[in-house]
């Protein structure tokens, strides 16, 4: 199966955009659905979200945040004209498409990528959509695309301070998101909230939304392997029941999600993820040394 990389560029710091020939996905994908990509023969399967697509021309676009070995290797080694080994999908359920009224759709860092197709479709379905992108300034992406697609697009950016690691960024992200969402909800009425982003950030936003009693749809990102419901790696507790995010989600009613459990499970492989990345960086260094 040739899934040719038709185009590729760096949109912002650590944000890489790919245009992929994948007619089987392009023909069917709906906002809210995702794909599983395998890029290398010894590689893992990672879930990514088609941001835009053309059903006739048979391509989809994907944006990856370079956060570990696989995404970094893709950023470093793949060139336009190369092929991805596997693009499976579309997977998961489409986001609910109806007229909610006024919607606030929140994307944290690269989470905004998944917000795009849903927010655009909601706007087209007659909703008044406000999108909010909370992100470090060097990682702000899709600004113009959002401005063209929805009623109002707000960027809540912040600068990265020297010496910050992922923890500090996450803390600042949560602080900014909570403050901005509070401000928006205090000043105007919304009928529906959507969030996409790190589980910790989504939980913090949910705690604000909950006080206002507004319905909230959250796209969850647990660990996935096959993403067709055959392993349960992506299991989450929703409304007291065990659900598989890949086939029952990825979108769920935020009021029913066990957030602490989700946050905890997301960090399951952190030490091995670090080891994989370190090993890869060492390889790169060794190659650099030889040249």
């Amino acid at each position: 199966m040739p899934y040719k990389i038709l185009d590729k560029k760096e949109l912002a710091m650590n944000e890489v955009w790919y245009k992929i020939h994948a007619p089987h996905v392009a023909k069917k994908v709906q906002p809210g659905q995702f794909v599983i990509v395998r890029a290398f023969p010894n590689g893992e399967r990672i879930p990514l979200t088609p941001v835009t697509w053309d059903r006739d021309e048979g391509w989809i676009t994907l944006i990856t945040f370079v956060r570990g070995k696989t995404t970094m290797r893709m950023a470093n080694e793949l060139k336009p004209g190369d092929e991805l080994l596997n693009v499976a999908g579309p997977l998961g359920n489409p986001a609910p498409m109806k007229k909610f009224g006024k919607i606030l759709a929140i994307g944290m860092i690269t989470g905004i990528v998944e917000v795009f197709p849903i927010a655009k479709a909601w706007q087209e379905a007659g909703n008044e959509v406000t999108t909010l992108h909370v992100s470090p300034n060097p990682m702000v992406i899709l600004k113009e695309e959002f401005e063209n697609a929805v009623s109002r697009h707000i960027v809540e950016g912040f600068d990265l301070q020297p010496g910050w690691g992922m923890n500090e960024i996450a803390q600042e992200l949560v602080k900014r998101a909570v403050a901005k969402v509070k401000e928006l909800l205090e000043n105007e009425h919304f009928d529906m909230i959507l969030t996409v982003g790190p589980a910790g950030g989504q939980k913090a936003v949910f705690n604000v939304v909950k006080e206002f009693g507004i319905p909230m749809h959250a796209d969850l990102h647990p660990i996935m392997v096959d993403a067709t419901g055959m392993c349960g790696a992506c299991r989450v507790t929703v409304g007291g029941e065990v659900k598989f995010a890949c086939i029952d989600g990825p979108g769920f009613d935020a009021y029913k999600v066990d957030w602490d459990e989700l946050i905890h499970r997301s960090g399951f492989y952190a030490p091995m993820e670090r080891l994989a990345l370190e090993t890869y960086l060492k390889q790169l260094q060794a190659q650099g040394g030889e040249q």
Partner: protein, 482 residues
């Protein structure tokens, strides 16, 4: 062939196995199989029952002509290549995946259980002989010529879509291709094989061998579309517009999880996730392969079927101490005897009459122990003939930093949820008639998708039967339209 009345040789010729201390350190195959000389010696033990009577053939779900292929080994004993070629021709008539079935079938419950020799001594080692023929043929490039013979002279007899590249789908596709149909398999994962690729470990079925068996189907003209999830990528309705018939062989791949406290703690895996990471993604080679797996020092596997044995022996090879905990007794275990023996030899411990009631976690949210209720057997038996069990009200807690749940699987519902016209039983299996046709005309199904969790060879038997039914269906439709 005229033969003298055969002399009874009661004991089977053994197959060598890799020593325990060597094999537990790696995923290489445990059983080394026969060489030609020992295969012929074992073949000579066969009494050559007539084909129309031979009980072994009746015990085989795809009805391989067993005395037929065994006879060829003896007949051409002076010419190994010819012996194997003739034997393989006989096997391929009924089964296109002999290197797989020779390894993973529970022969003791099928062909070998029926073998007449088993009444006076050891049954003929049919599985290992089948495996020998397939392996020798592959190693000595004997397959190509036979494949050319098998390729149908007339193609284009119709177009059939097969959903799922597991044992049922692969067999159905192979049979239809031999008969001259254009077959396309739609597979959700990035490799074909179904449970053979993601479930059964290398030490029982080397993936290289599986890949070659599947490559033969491609030689026969079968197209395999990977990364296609029927129900999502393409609907059943769309397939019916493009193809004359559809076969659903989507298996039973959804794990049953225990509905008890602590199920979401870290390092609690479904056996499917654990085995998929190990087999399909080669996580045992991390970080050479990117897929991680986290196994601690003490693993408890819950369940006692083949999946549990595979998971236990895999965890052992990743350096863990492993205990299998089963709610029934030793004699109730459903795994193959050979696999239980291998697990025991390798140091897997067994605990019986323990039913899990809670997973206990540490302060970091990682599992640290499993609480079990002690069970006891009753005289009364259930529908499957197993002794019923009841709780004793006594509890025991076993330490574990990794838990693998292998209590069974049920059919994946992606396709039945999308295709609303497809009739489904309460347990998720598809409803089929005596011709394996579903509630939608032209859509057939077989294997675990209609049986629930069963065996590789039963799935293959269904695939073969469905292929025949599909031919009849297409022929009939053609005549009606003519």
């Amino acid at each position: 062939m005229v033969r003298k009345r055969p002399k009874l040789i009661k004991e089977r010729v053994p197959t060598p196995e890799r020593p325990v201390e060597e094999r537990v350190k790696s995923f290489v195959e445990v059983n080394l199989g026969y060489d030609f000389a020992s295969a012929v010696k074992e073949a000579e033990r066969c009494l050559q029952c007539p084909v129309e009577y031979a009980p072994c053939i009746k015990g085989c779900p795809v009805h391989i002509n067993i005395p037929g292929f065994i006879g060829k080994l003896v007949e051409h004993r002076d010419d190994p290549n010819k012996a194997v070629k003739e034997a393989l021709r006989v096997i391929w008539g009924d089964n296109t995946l002999p290197a797989v079935t020779g390894r993973v079938c529970p022969q003791e419950e099928q062909c070998e259980m029926n073998c007449v020799m088993g009444k006076v001594g050891d049954p003929i080692n049919i599985g290992k002989l089948e495996r020998f023929v397939a392996d020798y043929a592959r190693k000595h490039s004997i397959e190509d010529e036979l494949l050319a013979e098998m390729r149908p002279s007339v193609c284009g007899k119709g177009k059939v879509a097969v959903v799922g590249a597991g044992p049922a789908g692969l067999t159905c596709a192979g049979e239809l291709a031999k008969l001259g149909y254009d077959v396309t398999i739609y597979e959700a994962l990035h490799k074909p094989g179904g449970v053979l690729i993601y479930g059964i470990p290398e030490f029982r079925l080397p993936k290289e061998i599986l890949d070659k068996e599947i490559a033969k189907l491609r030689e026969l003209g079968v197209e395999i579309k990977l990364d296609h999830v029927v129900g999502k990528t393409v609907t059943l309705e769309e397939l019916l517009e493009e193809y004359d018939a559809v076969f659903i062989g989507t298996g039973a791949g959804t794990p049953k999880l225990l509905n008890i406290p602590g199920i979401l703690l870290d390092r609690i895996y479904s056996a499917n996730e654990f085995l998929t990471r190990v087999n399909l993604m080669k996580a045992y080679k991390f970080p050479e392969y990117d897929e991680p797996i986290a196994v601690g020092k003490k693993t408890i596997v819950i369940g006692a079927g083949n999946t549990a044995m595979d998971a236990a022996r895999s965890a052992l090879r990743l350096g863990s101490e492993v205990t299998i905990a089963y709610r029934r007794g030793r004699e109730d275990m459903t795994a193959r005897i050979e696999e239980i023996q291998h697990a025991e030899e390798e140091g897997v411990k067994f605990e019986f009459f323990l039913n899990p009631v809670e997973f206990i976690g540490d302060e970091n949210g990682r599992v640290k122990a499993v609480k079990f209720e002690k069970m006891k057997p009753l005289e009364e038996r259930d529908k499957k003939g197993k002794r019923k069990i009841v709780g004793t009200g006594e509890y025991v807690t076993l330490e574990a930093d990794t838990v693998i749940i292998a209590i069974g699987l049920e059919p994946n519902r992606i396709i039945s949820e999308e295709a609303t016209g497809l009739k489904v039983n309460p347990d998720g299996t598809l409803v089929v008639d005596e011709n394996l046709m579903t509630s939608i005309p032209g859509v057939f199904a077989g294997g675990d998708a209609i049986r629930g969790e069963a065996t590789v060879i039963l799935a293959m038997g269904d695939g073969k039967r469905a292929a025949k039914a599909i031919c009849d269906y297409i022929e009939k439709k053609r005549k009606a339209n003519a």
